[in-house]
Symmetry: C2
Subunit: 320 residues, 2 copies
């Protein structure tokens, strides 16, 4: 039997697992709840137990695996195999994740942060078509990202490479949680879209259901904004246009700087699909020079939730 890899995508709610071939074909998958009680001290033991349990179930041994790859929230030290500052896991102190998992499973572990492994997944088996130069942007509660350049995942000097959500798209823009102003995240995350809607609504006087909802004090979501825009609500269309302007500016500068084969947009906000993509592309073309327009494509993510577990698995290939 050819050796397999295991991918783990750890999140604040669940940990997803997959047993895959080295070619990235998922053969088994399962998930467990993330028990964040007691400073998250149950999380890694639960992962170890779940792996050992499933290996028993499938009649597999540690020697059947090339390794385990794992994506996690927080700041990851890939060399040391440790994680710190994963607040949705209640991990505030340094966690020796690799040591615990390797000791508990007798399989080698490689680890990286969740946005990076999602980028690896989309690049390997998704919209990135395994190209050596791919940028991934995830538009969710926040805006995250990962960059693969010349075939390598970038980490930078202090692990901050790929922090696309903190590209400054408006020097005089909204205050961001990171401490500075005008970050992409403040205008294109799920909460950012709503923020832009509230701002534009204040000055908007025409007919609009979105305006009505906001004036009535209703709670709205970024999904509402995109749905209303697709139903031709004038204010919602203005909001989407502004959000796509900022996304196109950020993508344009990623294109001018890195000239990736594709910039792949994923995460909850990207559920708006082609309606979003085509508008980002319009501004991307405005903010890039001709050779980049021709060679860098704006694409939608294809793997959805599986990007993380597949990309995590790919980390284990370094042990092959």
């Amino acid at each position: 039997m050819d050796k397999k890899i295991i991918g783990i995508d750890l999140g604040g709610t669940t940990a997803k697992f997959a047993i895959m071939t080295p070619e990235g074909e998922i053969q088994q998958k399962w998930s467990i709840d993330s028990n964040v009680l007691d400073d998250g001290s149950h999380i890694v033991p639960d992962i170890v137990e779940s792996i050992n349990h499933h290996l028993g179930l499938y009649g597999m041994k540690p020697e059947d695996f090339i390794g385990i790859g794992m994506g996690t929230p927080g700041s990851v030290d890939q060399e040391a195999g440790t994680v710190i500052g994963a607040y949705n896991l209640n991990w505030t102190t340094l966690q020796p994740v690799r040591e615990q998992i390797e000791t508990g499973t007798n399989i080698k572990l490689a680890i990286d942060n969740d946005a990076n492994v999602a980028a690896l997944g989309e690049r390997w088996k998704g919209a990135g078509e395994n190209n050596p130069d791919v940028v991934f942007i995830t538009l969710g509660t926040g805006v995250g990202g990962g960059i693969v350049a010349a075939g390598q995942l970038l980490h930078g000097a202090a692990g901050c490479a790929g922090e696309i959500g903190h590209i400054t798209v408006d020097p005089h823009g909204y205050q961001c949680t990171c401490g500075k102003r005008g970050c992409l995240e403040t205008v294109s995350s799920a909460t950012g879209v709503v923020r832009v809607a509230r701002t534009l609504a204040e000055e908007y006087a025409g007919d609009s259901q979105l305006k009505q909802l906001l004036d009535d004090g209703e709670e709205i979501t970024s999904k509402d904004v995109f749905e209303l825009a697709q139903a031709d609500d004038a204010l919602a269309l203005m909001v989407v246009d502004k959000v796509c302007f900022y996304l196109g500016l950020a993508c344009g500068n990623l294109g001018n700087t890195l000239n990736p084969a594709s910039i792949v947009i994923g995460g909850g906000v990207s559920a708006a699909g082609e309606f979003l993509r085509s508008r980002v592309e319009k501004y991307f073309n405005e903010f890039t020079f001709p050779q980049v327009q021709e060679s860098t494509k704006i694409k939608l993510a294809e793997l959805g939730n599986e990007a993380g577990v597949i990309g995590a698995g790919s980390l284990a290939l370094q042990f092959a």
Copy 2:
């Protein structure tokens, strides 16, 4: 005798040569004029002749060399070893540079564009301190750049990676020769600095020697602007502040995206030295989040004109 490398930095005026150790220590250097007549058809034969002549002079043979590395203007196809569109050399058609030089010298050749090899040089032996993640920006007639990330020079999908001069720093800014608006080059190249000076002078009413010179129709240079600013000319200080705002914004977003250990600023405009660097750094800090401020440094280039020939030489190490 340990084998050596040869670096060639080809420009529109001269071609510079250096014989170096594999550690980057220059042992011999010389230069020849670039003869751009007859569609630049003499350039490569002149280079071949000059190399063979100097090897004879120093009593060296092709076998004494690991290889030749070369930086050139224009669009370079590294795989094919060809160059096209180097207008200052009058190379408008495809030039089989590698084939000609390898045949003429019996030494292997690697080739890349001039901004990229200067980046390699500053990263290897200059301000980059041989760190795996270094960005180089050159502020000259235009604005060029090169990016080394995870130890590799980035080219991107169509060779446009590192085109830092075309980062959009003002979506409603000046028209650029590349076809779009608000490129960094339009406001921070030597001509860009003068352009900013002319614009700000129109609205400026106070006392200023720079204002006087412009109103009198004098030709001014970016050097004049920086000298007047250092002599406390109020308008010149405003111009420098605006130029550094844009440079700080572009460097900030390179920091947020790539988190290099350093962003190295070179080229003619960087002759303004610490006066320029400290102001770029001020805005860089405004446009980056704390971890990037701490781990990415803004530095001045250290190698001057030698960056190109040293970086070009380093390309030859791939044959070692």
